[in-house]
Symmetry: C2
Subunit: 516 residues, 2 copies
């Protein structure tokens, strides 16, 4: 941030420490600390059985690595290479995985938005990558740059969203060759939170790293000195990593940026129908990429992701937020702690609209994230239809749930000092009074309880008189207000110009190849 | 059940082992076993601090006992009595509480519906006591006997509802003096699950015990030999137990039926604004009733309930399913284990309609029930508006969540045998196939995953083509189908006649007093 102090700033509040305007009274920015003891369905033998399964997949079955540069590294490592099949013994795996840090930070252009990954920290990421957009006026439509920008504004606005991950909706009105340039320009100017690059080949990752460097006002050395951004790759389950993702991934590793590897292992489709089998396969696919990262750059900050769910066996459709999803997430949490790796999970649902089903499926997945001690929760706000739709109403509804999880973590709720046990207050009120007016209450009431911004706690008649709006309708109104009042976070004018020039130049050069 | 085998039966399927018809494909009846390690926010010191607070309330402040028969017993026990204020030392409390069993069963008229309370068992109870009814056609209206009967039919229909608790809605079209007679007749004929009596004075409890005895075809000795039903009382917080509830409670205790005592301690209103204070007060109010029960009948089956939540400090309105509610429930769970008592909590929300808010608040409270190792979950299906509304759509939506919790508990999901790790299947499919068609999947797919009855897992287009119904609309259709196809559980004709005669006679006698 060396250069920013002497530059003229545009937009935003001075200091930009708040993300909210007047529409809602939200919680301040914080990195939640999850002090709950995780829910652990596996016995020690169960952990060893899944570990053994993952190791035997890596030792005996092997993973396809469809990228020559990566194959060369695995060869150098001493792995058994058969064409593109890589088999690797468990000692090598465990030795390299042990080099991965269990905790690290990522510092975006606004250092106040620095996040911690690992330990008991937990951060929430906006929905990423749906090709479609849905709101109560439009219904389901292909995503546009405007939809994407509006969802980025929500990402910035809500203090409980810590990371500006992925494209919150794919703007399919922007050509794929230059989409990353336009969206990253929007993301880096509309938000000041940790950004993400899609690892879709060399050009996109390099462009995004350069744009993040410019946005931060950083030299190349400063950019590489500490993580400023991250990427997430998926394996092509079963048992395959493709060229484009590995290329982008390795570039991020080499430049010291954070990588997360998240196999998408739907049990019964791309993985065994049994959850332990699906988790073992997912771990094998994830660990081989982490091994690669740690060989390239020992100590490289990385995380292991889980996206193990089940299909509807009647239709083959993916299901999310199911009991099986919850248990797979908890099991992966146990395994991530066994390997000493930070873990990513998700906030997910199969519902098509932001209704009751959407919220019980999302609640299931978010509580599973808590119970598994997930460190990074993707798609934590805005996801519908198994990831095919991004919705602003759902985004805002999810943020209410996320804020409640943040509040749930506050130690004051379960404090047991004499002031908390409150014997004097109980004695004073006795058996015939009310606690509302007493001093013990008056001293504490402003911060004693969670204050919702979207939940309507009025009685039926009050709610009905105010229009009788169901949750999604209230969220829709709030969405419009937030967009209307949105304040762009501060950015030096010269940095903004430099970013714009970079985009213009790279567009003139043709952007990135689209022949994938 | 001695007499039933030689009597003619009316209605229902032979054996009556299934509760479902063709409308939905639901899970079979079972008593869930919650094997999760509970979430415990209190340290050992925290447990002692809350225990100490509860004991000091009982020793130093005292509880008002507004019933002479109970006062006489506390006097006999050696308590300090000052008018109606009863103070009791901790040794007496702990000695008597230790006599309460940690586990027991309740056997309703259909012995296949026997439930276990305590240990790792968990049972779900329908919504009880709202004065109002809401469905998508009626909106909010006062409850009627027909509404009540329809909700009793849902209670019977869904296998995941284990107990026919309370009146699922107050039928305010039936005079209060005879309401218990009509509703219990409906409950005992429309359901065969564990019934409940309101402890509102002598006559109601005695009438209900007699009706439960008749419905079970039991002699008086058989009725009293083992629990057949239960009651739940609330204290009048702060620090008071009233005449009518204590009278009914003591009658149930004396006849060996189950009692649950559940203070309604809204933090900031009837209890301290601090959650630990509210929990300590709730425990003190609960424990004194349990002490009474154990003195009257050592070993009497009883449970301690929690209904500690917070108010909206802006309006004083009660809030439910909040972060504070979750933590209070978990803390009470720790304390219930400390005292060795089975615990009751609830499925609750403040939402006025079965929308997104309703389901995140309900999910919060139901997961808190799991995390706290609650044994009995009241209001687990059908509750809206902080308990002022019962809704059939909400009932059905909640049952989908409850079934998922039941499925979540199944050990097969997290099993790690070699068959579960499925290395052979992973090897067979390799990196270029699909698990859908292989034998390992085919052998397991029917039972591998949770199958929802209400969740719609189709993609958006399929869902839209089928009408684009939101969850509550789907539940409304399902409600009508379930009522249309409802089959009354089997009951001997002579028993039904005896019940009807009892109701007729007691009505002629004027029912129960209503001057409370």
């Amino acid at each position: 941030m060396a250069k920013t102090t002497r530059r003229q700033r545009s937009g935003g509040r001075a200091g930009n420490t708040r993300g909210s305007g007047s529409t809602i009274d939200q919680m301040p920015w914080r990195i939640p600390v999850n002090t709950d003891r995780p829910t652990e369905p596996l016995t020690e033998e169960g952990v060893q059985a899944i570990h053994g399964g993952a190791m035997r997949i890596l030792e005996d079955i092997g993973i396809e690595i469809l990228f020559d540069d990566a194959l060369a590294i695995f060869k150098e490592m001493g792995c058994r290479i058969d064409g593109t099949n890589v088999r690797i013994d468990r000692d090598t795996v465990m030795e390299l995985v042990a080099k991965a840090p269990s905790e690290f930070t990522i510092t975006p252009r606004n250092p106040d938005r620095k996040i911690a990954i690992g330990g008991k920290h937990m951060v929430f990421v906006n929905v990423s990558s749906p090709p479609n957009y849905w709101d109560m006026e439009t219904g389901k439509v292909p995503g546009t740059r405007e939809h994407c920008a509006n969802l980025l504004k929500l990402t910035q606005y809500f203090n409980c969203i810590h990371v500006a991950g992925g494209y919150p909706v794919e703007p399919v009105d922007v050509h794929a060759s230059v989409r990353h340039l336009d969206v990253l320009f929007d993301k880096l100017t509309l938000t000041d939170k940790v950004p993400h690059a899609y690892s879709l080949g060399k050009e996109r990752v390099e462009d995004v790293m350069e744009m993040v460097r410019i946005a931060g006002g950083l030299s190349h050395e400063e950019f590489e000195a500490t993580p400023r951004m991250y990427t997430n790759i998926n394996s092509t389950s079963p048992l395959k990593h493709d060229h484009l993702m590995l290329d982008g991934y390795m570039r991020c590793v080499r430049r010291g940026q954070v990588t997360v590897v998240t196999p998408f292992t739907l049990a019964g489709a791309m993985a065994p129908v049994t959850m332990a089998g699906a988790v073992a396969q997912s771990l094998a696919e994830g660990l081989i990429a982490i091994v690669l990262a740690q060989y390239i750059r020992p100590g490289a900050p990385c995380g292991i992701g889980t996206f193990t769910s089940n299909v509807d066996m009647k239709t083959g459709a993916p299901a999310f937020g199911t009991p099986e999803y919850m248990r797979a997430t908890q099991m992966t949490g146990q395994m991530a702690r066994f390997y000493g790796l930070p873990m990513r999970s998700s906030g997910v649902c199969a519902a098509n609209v932001p209704d009751g089903q959407a919220m019980w499926e999302t609640s299931n997945s978010l509580w599973a994230a808590v119970q598994s001690q997930s460190h990074m929760v993707y798609h934590a706000a805005g996801w519908l239809e198994g990831g095919l739709i991004a919705s602003p109403e759902k985004f805002i509804m999810d943020c209410e749930v996320l804020q409640q999880i943040q509040r749930y973590f506050e130690p004051m709720i379960t404090a047991t000092t004499p002031d908390d046990i409150a014997l004097d207050a109980i004695k004073d009120v006795g058996n015939d009074g009310h606690f509302f007016g007493i001093q013990h209450t008056q001293d504490r009431y402003e911060h004693a309880f969670y204050q919702p911004f979207l939940s309507d706690w009025r009685n039926y008649e009050g709610w009905d008189l105010a229009g009788g709006y169901w949750t999604a309708e209230r969220a829709n109104k709030m969405f419009k207000n937030i967009i209307n009042e949105f304040e762009t976070p501060a950015m030096d004018v010269s940095i903004r110009e430099e970013l714009a020039e970079f985009v213009t130049r790279r567009k003139a050069e043709g952007g990135a190849p689209t022949d994938f």
